[in-house]
């Protein structure tokens, strides 16, 4: 008899072996450690152990002003920094009650959706690498590189952007860049088609992922799993549709939904999401190109002097699901409490429920498909 992470007793026979997957392991995407109990190659239970990348994001906030904390925010999830920025900034914009100019809204939407694509592309490559295919990683990085180059020209940084500011964005987007984005989004559809040709109907990929790691609707709700992992179960829940922020009301896009959340359908969800994001990018660039002479990208607030009061919750549908930033301000320049609610934290928690009973090779197929990123779990 042994206890798992949630203390549930499971009966084990004598012929079991405990194996330590991580923290240094090629496919734990960073520093997750999983204590896996195996019987043969069958997984009896998994105990995820986290904290190897804990940087004390929430403690850091106590000694920094709102502006000083801003660059750190991108590091909460280094693959989708814009989302973290947005969650934090929208919380503060609620507190100081500003409305941001329409162009800034479009730019924010555009960058966030591009960020979603770049993050999904990295996930796709790494997921296939987990399954043993090396080539897709390089193919996805070709497209990702284009996005990162655009981001570099726009924000000055490839991953830690620090681009949003209270009441808008820091720099205007230029016409050449918009044309480049337009070109990228046209090429991108072809690239996605290429990935699909290579992967989706690959018989080995299907055997590896179909009916592997099934996440039931009940478990998904109980464990508060969000994002593509949840939508693959068939629950329509996307903050962009449920309570549209920015300009998602004006945009035409659909939220892909699956039926059974197994590894394969989680993969399909992300592929479809990339296509939808591409549509949004197209619409945003069209609007920005037609309003190129509009120069208002920022409401002039002095970020040094903001001393908000009250509590606020900034929410965003990030790449991995619902990302929340809770801020309690006490009227000084330092926040009283900042709390990050990160989707990967809850997905990691559910891994025992999802992967129990499958084989050891399936663990990588399941873990990879959940799109867990460690800095977000450990903060």
């Amino acid at each position: 008899m042994m206890k798992d992470s949630n203390g549930i007793m499971t009966k084990t026979s004598e012929h079991t072996m405990q194996i330590n997957v991580g923290p240094q392991h090629p496919s734990t995407h960073g520093v997750l450690r999983m204590l896996v109990t195996l019987s043969g190659e069958q997984i009896i239970q998994i105990e995820p152990i986290i904290g190897y990348l804990h940087r004390g994001m929430e403690k850091m906030a106590e000694t920094r002003t709102y502006l000083q904390y801003l660059p750190i925010v991108d590091r909460v999830d280094y693959l989708s920094g814009f989302f973290c920025s947005y969650a934090y900034i929208s919380a503060i914009e609620n507190l100081i009650n500003t409305d941001i100019p329409i162009k800034a809204k479009y730019i924010r939407t555009l960058t966030m959706e591009m960020n979603r694509i770049s993050s999904h592309l990295l996930w796709l490559g790494c997921y296939l690498l987990d399954l043993g295919a090396t080539s897709p990683l390089f193919y996805t990085f070709i497209e990702r590189e284009k996005i990162l180059n655009i981001f570099e020209d726009l924000t000055g940084s490839r991953m830690m952007y620090n681009y949003y500011t209270f009441g808008g964005v820091k720099r205007d987007i230029e016409k050449e860049l918009l044309i480049r984005i337009k070109k990228f989004s046209n090429e991108f559809l072809k690239a996605v088609q290429e990935y699909e040709d290579l992967i989706t109907n690959n018989p080995i990929f299907i055997t590896r992922t179909k009916n592997i790691g099934i996440l039931s609707k009940e478990d998904a709700t109980e464990y508060s799993i969000t994002g593509a992992n949840l939508r693959a179960c068939g629950i329509q829940k996307d903050l962009r549709k449920d309570s549209p922020y920015l300009i998602y009301n004006n945009l035409e896009f659909s939220v892909p939904i699956g039926t059974i959340s197994d590894s394969h359908s989680r993969y399909i969800m992300r592929i479809k999401e990339m296509k939808e994001s591409n549509k949004i990018i197209n619409q945003c660039t069209d609007w920005l190109l037609s309003n190129i002479e509009d120069n208002e990208i920022n409401t002039k607030i002095n970020p040094l002097t903001i001393k908000p009061n009250g509590t606020s919750l900034g929410e965003v549908e990030s790449t991995r699901g619902l990302l929340q930033c809770y801020i309690e301000a006490n009227g000084t320049e330092f926040p009283n409490r900042i709390k990050w609610r990160t989707p990967s934290f809850y997905a990691t928690q559910a891994i025992n429920t999802i992967a129990k009973g499958f084989m050891l090779p399936d663990l990588m197929a399941i873990f990879g498909s959940l799109d867990i990123i460690m800095p977000e779990v450990d903060r």
Partner: protein, 361 residues
């Protein structure tokens, strides 16, 4: 006995060298040939695979050492020679030490069984076809030893997986081999090659099903993607050679590539007519050359054809590596036992019928 052998004996007898020494010297020449061939093949294959995969993934591959990176493998080899030899604390020391040798030595041995041309064949065994597979079942024991003795759970799982897949893949392989023996009427690899003297006589045409089964099973034997479970890096870190470093690791690494090469030659010998020219004639025969020169050029030509066929097979193996993800152990067992064994028996049946009608013609 080939003409070169006769010349060699005659020349050395003139120098008053005893006969037993001449016999040994002739074998030493073979040994040098085989070792050189293996080293060159491995050096080339490692570089070739990296370049080929780089081509697939739109990269350049190694291009710093030597002309277009041609010395990269040599540089890697030298580096690995100077690496520290680390032995885990709770390793079973003797087995840990012996395992790489058990893996490597049989692979070098089977090089002597393959007829590289009509005259280059160091050991013309009458049961060559069986001996080849029999010797090649030894490295699996070595991998199991390595997995067990490292004192690492990942290695242990890797070793066990290798054992499982060897057991399941060898039965279809031997069933296909039985078909080849029926087709050619011999277990001698030389005779098998000679029976496939023309393009249409190649064993692949009647035994196309057997060829496919044999090819996939050989991927399992070679631990190549999509069947590289014993060393599945995303699951088992590095599998059975997890705890090996320096020269011991190099032995596993070289062994793997040497095995890929020799197994491809074996497949080419069995199915693709071995060293026979697909053109139906040799360039040497077109010209009126003196006997010895003609024989020499013919042998080189035959060697070239065999290497060409081998590389075509290796190309396919590497292509598969670039395109496919890894399969699963349990699914591989299902594949071998439920699909390949019945198909291989069916293949045997078909070949019996083919051979019956061939005999009556």
């Amino acid at each position: 006995m080939s003409i070169f052998h006769l010349i060699f004996i005659e020349y050395l007898l003139k120098l008053n060298i005893p006969e037993w020494l001449i016999f040994m010297l002739w074998q030493i020449i073979y040994f040098i040939f085989i070792s050189l061939l293996m080293i060159l093949a491995v050096l080339f294959l490692v570089l070739f695979e990296r370049k080929y995969l780089a081509f697939f993934t739109r990269r350049k591959g190694p291009n710093r050492v030597g002309f277009y990176g041609c010395l990269q493998t040599v540089a890697d080899g030298i580096k690995i020679l100077f690496k520290e030899n680390i032995m885990p604390k709770n390793a079973d020391k003797f087995i840990y030490f012996v395992a790489p040798i058990i893996v490597f030595a049989p692979i070098l041995t089977v090089y002597s069984l393959i007829p590289f041309s009509s005259d280059i064949n160091s050991y013309k065994s009458d049961i060559g076809i069986l001996l080849f597979m029999a010797i090649l079942s030894l490295p699996i024991a070595g991998i199991l030893f390595a997995g067990y003795s490292s004192g690492n759970k990942y290695s242990l799982i890797g070793g066990l997986r290798s054992c499982i897949q060897a057991i399941s893949s060898e039965i279809p392989i031997f069933l296909v081999l039985a078909g080849i023996v029926i087709l050619t009427g011999s277990m001698n690899l030389n005779e098998i090659v000679k029976a496939q003297y023309s393009f249409l006589q190649w064993n692949i045409f009647p035994a196309i099903l057997g060829f496919i089964i044999f090819f996939i099973c050989s991927l399992i034997t070679l631990n190549r993607i999509p069947f590289d479970f014993p060393e599945a890096e995303s699951e088992l870190v590095a599998g059975y050679h997890c705890e090996y470093s320096g020269m011991k690791f190099a032995m596993f690494f070289l062994g793997e590539y040497a095995l890929t090469f020799i197994f491809s030659t074996y497949i080419a010998t069995l199915f693709l007519g071995g060293y026979n020219s697909p053109l139906g004639f040799y360039i040497a025969d077109l010209f009126d050359l003196p006997l010895i020169t003609g024989e020499l050029i013919r042998n080189i030509e035959q060697f070239f054809w065999l290497i060409l066929k081998t590389f075509l097979l290796i190309l396919i193996i590497m292509w598969i590596r670039a395109a496919y993800p890894r399969f699963k152990t349990d699914k591989t067992l299902e594949l071998c036992w439920y699909i390949f064994i019945p198909l291989a028996i069916f293949n045997l049946f078909v070949l019996c019928i083919v051979q019956y009608f061939r005999g009556s013609l």
